[in-house]
């Protein structure tokens, strides 16, 4: 089996796997980074969202062969040096219900805020449209993104 060097949470990892293996399953089954969740396998629900080169990407459809060029950040990497303002905002507003989609929500929100510290409602809606929350935490997610934006400005 071919091996690939991936940069995950700023750490080099050598992985033996088929080139078309989705990053999701490398993270979950090989590296035990289970904060990234399987939801649909087709890039439709966003539970598996990670950052690749700083962009919000669905890891269930990103093959490892296509993920060699930049850093991959997972939810575990986001909180490596303590919780980020966005995670603090999530906690202040007690956002999750079942919580399963929340890593994906937080990663997508983090990609948005890294590029746009003052997102409008429409910009939030567009950036978050790919991540389904089945429990209906959208109301609190939107407030948490606004709160995190305020925290980042301070």
């Amino acid at each position: 089996m071919p091996s690939f060097t991936l940069t995950i949470n700023n750490d080099k990892k050598v992985i033996s796997a088929e080139p078309e293996t989705p990053l999701l399953w490398v993270l979950r089954d090989i590296l035990d980074l289970t904060g990234t969740k399987f939801g649909c396998g087709k890039g439709l629900c966003g539970s598996c969202t990670i950052l690749y080169k700083g962009n919000s990407v669905r890891s269930c459809t990103l093959t490892i062969a296509a993920a060699l060029e930049g850093n991959i950040t997972t939810i575990e990497g986001l909180s490596e040096e303590g919780l980020q303002p966005i995670q603090e905002a999530w906690m202040e507003l007690d956002v999750p219900q079942c919580g399963y989609c929340q890593s994906g929500q937080i990663m997508a929100a983090s990609a948005l805020l890294s590029k746009n510290t003052r997102p409008s409602d429409d910009e939030i809606n567009r950036a978050m449209a790919g991540i389904i929350c089945r429990c209906g935490t959208y109301v609190r997610i939107k407030k948490a993104i606004q709160l995190a934006a305020n925290k980042l400005e301070e």
């Binding site: 089996m1 088929e18 293996t21 989705p22 399953w25 979950r28 089954d29 090989i30 035990d32 980074l33 289970t34 904060g35 990234t36 969740k37 399987f38 939801g39 649909c40 396998g41 087709k42 439709l44 629900c45 539970s47 997972t74 939810i75 575990e76 986001l78 909180s79 919780l83 995670q87 999530w90 906690m91 007690d94 956002v95 999750p96 219900q97 079942c98 919580g99 399963y100 989609c101 929340q102 937080i106 429409d122 939030i124 809606n125 567009r126 978050m128 449209a129 790919g130 991540i131 389904i132 929350c133 089945r134 429990c135 209906g136 935490t137 959208y138 109301v139 609190r140 997610i141 939107k142």
Partner: protein, 728 residues
């Protein structure tokens, strides 16, 4: 019982929730023989450590409804614990914890007195111990912040210094509860106990379990309901890198498809075992299977609905008050309308999965189940195991909504682990999850109202026809009981009322869903009431209040009465909160519905804007809820927001259709769910009272769809009588 709960059972349970359950409390002290050196487990739910930390066991499955936080809050309140020094641990399945399932909005209702009793008993022994140590009478002592306080002197003793003394005292048979007026924790905004682990990605769901030597599995099941396997060719699958084995799942070897109402067996198919989930998925894609569909009715949605419609004239009468025929004859006019709701899937974000280590006659399970009792029953029935040979862990669950009452996926995993003699993590693909769900029953509702010359309703007829979840998959019982029964609103409010049921059999697997029956009937009833208000040229809320009549206790069935004053109060408040009586711009509309569900009262107003192309934008929802006492305000508000969004999302998009006996939908592209930009602002207000807490998981859902449809009518003049709205 759980699988087939009808409203009659529910109302009986809730009516008698207090006394019966307290008497049944079996939590006992561990009867220590010597002084404990360190921590002491005062009850199976409460452990106090010498460092001052208190460990409380959350006994019910956490499916996102917040019960892992709510039940320990009640325990901590009665105990007088300092919440900041409370650790909550999830309990495994254990008969010692009593009822341990999640669903039907029951968890708080059934556990309120149970948790209070458990907390109060331990408080009692701590106070007794302090009384001995402080030489003060018990009557002068109380607990607060994990201390026993002597109010008069201001002296106090922390719990941690009372452990040795208190552990010698037997828990009392019965105890008095704390006065509600002295509550310190209940009703506050308490962040959920797993919050940090959730936002940091550390929290482990069943799907995240990894055991030494574990292999990974997935299944490819016959897409046709109740079909079997004729033959299969796994040559290509076996050549996929990482694939270890192929195992046919044949339920005939385990007693067939269904074993009792609580223990559904699995659907036939082929399982692929591999060294990773991805290899298993890839292997399953390459299987070539000849399915055996000889036993299928080969149904399609159109035919199923035709069956429902034709059964509207061949019904059983579930309730008959006065005489509907005379009312129809004497009426100045009779108004008729027919409503339809579709089959709905659950699409929990965490797909069906289960990890089982079944070796050496011992079966250890990590399952996302709402119903561990059914899981244990299933293992006993399929494999002849004894309860002591089974251990069920209950990790946090990525959504349930009724799907996880059924344990078919766990039976799959048990079969595979037993055959492999290894721990197996089984993960269904989203496609399998949607195609082998236990759907919310579809139904057709024919409504008739007889009106007098003032437009007042003198006769009400509601005929519901569908395939019942009670008789789905060969289960037995009264099919009407789960679909429409003698409690259906407005029973008790109208002198001439008839509720009827037309029963159809279908292969479509049917089961629980959030507010399963009421989600359908409320759409018909509250859309119809809006139609009657419009016909009478009246404001919908004015018309509904007139329809209800003055605040009173309305006798419905036997001793069960509808406390109308509580419903009227939430209606009046939502009217104010939503600015109901102000004028909206062109293309905007407000819709209203109010219900009683699971002992709670809720009124909702949905505000929409509809553009020239008919595109609906939901702008805002106002909800006012009387669920009795609120246990955790943050969690309760989340439940209301979630229930409303689920109701709106299903109303807009939700629909499962079938063809040739198989579900057509397969993933989120064709089973759509509301996205963030479509979610309205939701304003929730709770009525403050000291009445016993009632259900909250389901009540917010039923009014959402009719309130939305009524709002669309207000904006456009277009009446929605068939869900989902995007197909109307």
């Amino acid at each position: 019982m759980i699988n087939t709960l009808d409203r009659r059972t529910f109302i009986k349970l809730t009516a008698s929730a207090s006394g019966a359950l307290v008497a049944g409390v079996s939590f006992q002290s561990c009867a220590p023989e010597k002084l404990p050196a360190t921590a002491h487990e005062f009850s199976p739910l409460i452990k106090i450590d010498t460092d001052g930390w208190i460990t409380l066991i959350a006994k019910n499955p956490e499916i996102g409804q917040g019960i892992k936080t709510a039940l320990p809050i009640i325990l901590a309140e009665e105990l007088g614990a300092n919440w900041k020094k409370v650790k909550v641990e999830q309990g495994d399945y254990d008969k010692g914890y009593e009822e341990q399932w999640a669903g039907g909005s029951y968890a708080i209702i059934l556990n309120w007195d149970l948790m209070r009793t458990a907390g109060a008993k331990v408080r009692h022994v701590l106070i007794q111990a302090a009384s001995n140590k402080m030489n003060r009478p018990v009557s002068e002592l109380s607990t607060i912040n994990s201390e026993v306080l002597h109010i008069k002197s201001g002296n106090s003793l922390p719990f941690k210094e009372l452990i040795a003394e208190a552990s010698q005292i037997t828990l009392p048979e019965s105890v008095e509860f704390k006065p509600i007026t002295s509550f310190e924790i209940v009703g506050k905004n308490i962040p959920q106990v797993d919050l940090y682990k959730q936002v940091s990605g550390e929290i482990k769901y069943s799907i995240d379990v990894k055991l030494p030597g574990m292999v990974y599995a997935t299944v490819s099941k016959n897409p046709v309901f109740e079909g079997g396997v004729s033959s299969y060719d796994d040559t290509v699958t076996r050549s996929v890198n990482g694939v270890i084995d192929i195992i046919e799942l044949d339920n005939k070897a385990y007693g067939g498809r269904l074993i009792g109402p609580n223990s559904p067996n699995f659907v036939n198919g082929i399982a692929v075992i591999a060294n990773s989930t991805w290899s298993a998925f890839k292997g399953a894609e390459k299987l070539k299977v000849e399915w055996n569909n000889a036993d299928s009715r080969k149904e399609n949605t159109e035919g199923i609905f035709e069956g429902f419609h034709s059964q509207l004239t061949s019904t059983s009468i579930e309730r008959k008050d006065g005489n509907i025929d005379i009312a129809k004859r004497r009426a100045v006019s009779n108004v008729e309308a027919v409503y339809e709701v579709p089959f709905l899937a659950h699409v929990t974000m965490e797909p069906m999965n289960c990890t089982i280590d079944y070796r050496d006659d011992f079966c250890e399970v990590w399952a996302p189940t709402q119903n561990p009792e059914a899981l244990q029953d299933g293992l006993i029935k399929l494999f002849g195991l004894k309860p002591e040979q089974i251990k069920i862990h209950l990790p946090r669950i990525g959504g349930a909504f009724g799907r996880r009452f059924y344990v078919d996926y766990a039976m799959d995993a048990a079969v595979l682990s037993k055959k492999m003699k290894k721990p197996v993590k089984l993960t269904w693909t989203r496609e399998e999850d949607i195609k082998h769900d236990w759907y919310r029953p579809a139904s057709v509702h024919k409504m008739n109202a007889s009106l007098d010359k003032k437009g007042k309703v003198t006769g009400w007829q509601h005929i519901l026809s569908n395939a019942s979840r009670k008789t789905s998959l060969g289960r037995e019982g009264n099919p009407a009981g789960t679909e429409i029964d003698e409690y259906e609103f407005p029973a008790g409010f109208i002198p001439n009322l008839q509720l009827e049921y037309g029963h159809v059999l279908s292969d479509v697997p049917l089961g629980q869903w959030r507010a399963v029956g009421h989600s359908a009937t409320a759409f018909a009833v509250h859309s119809f009431l809006d139609e009657l208000a419009i016909l009478n040229n009246m404001d919908t809320i004015d018309y509904f209040l007139e329809f209800l009549g003055p605040a009173r206790m309305v006798p419905v069935v036997d001793d069960y009465k509808f406390d109308l004053e509580r419903l009227i109060l939430v209606i009046e408040k939502v009217r104010l909160n939503s600015n109901w009586d102000t004028v909206l711009p062109e293309g905007h509309g407000r819709g209203f519905a109010a219900c009683k569900d699971s002992g709670s009262f809720i009124a909702e107003v949905v505000t929409v804007r509809v553009d020239k192309n008919g595109k609906v934008k939901i702008l805002k929802v106002d909800a006012v809820v009387d669920c009795g006492m609120v246990i955790n305000h943050s969690g309760a508000e989340a439940q209301v927001q979630g229930g409303i969004l689920e109701g709106l999302s299903a109303a807009l998009y939700g629909e499962i259709t079938v063809n040739e006996g198989a579900t057509l939908q397969s993933n989120f592209h064709d089973y759509q769910w509301m996205r963030m930009g479509e979610a309205p602002d939701i304003h929730v207000e709770f009525i403050k009272n000291e009445l016993p807490p009632r259900g909250l998981g389901e009540p917010p859902l039923p009014p959402a769809a009719p309130a939305l449809a009524n709002a669309i009518f207000a904006a456009t003049g277009q009446r929605i009588r068939k869900l989902p709205i995007n197909k109307s």
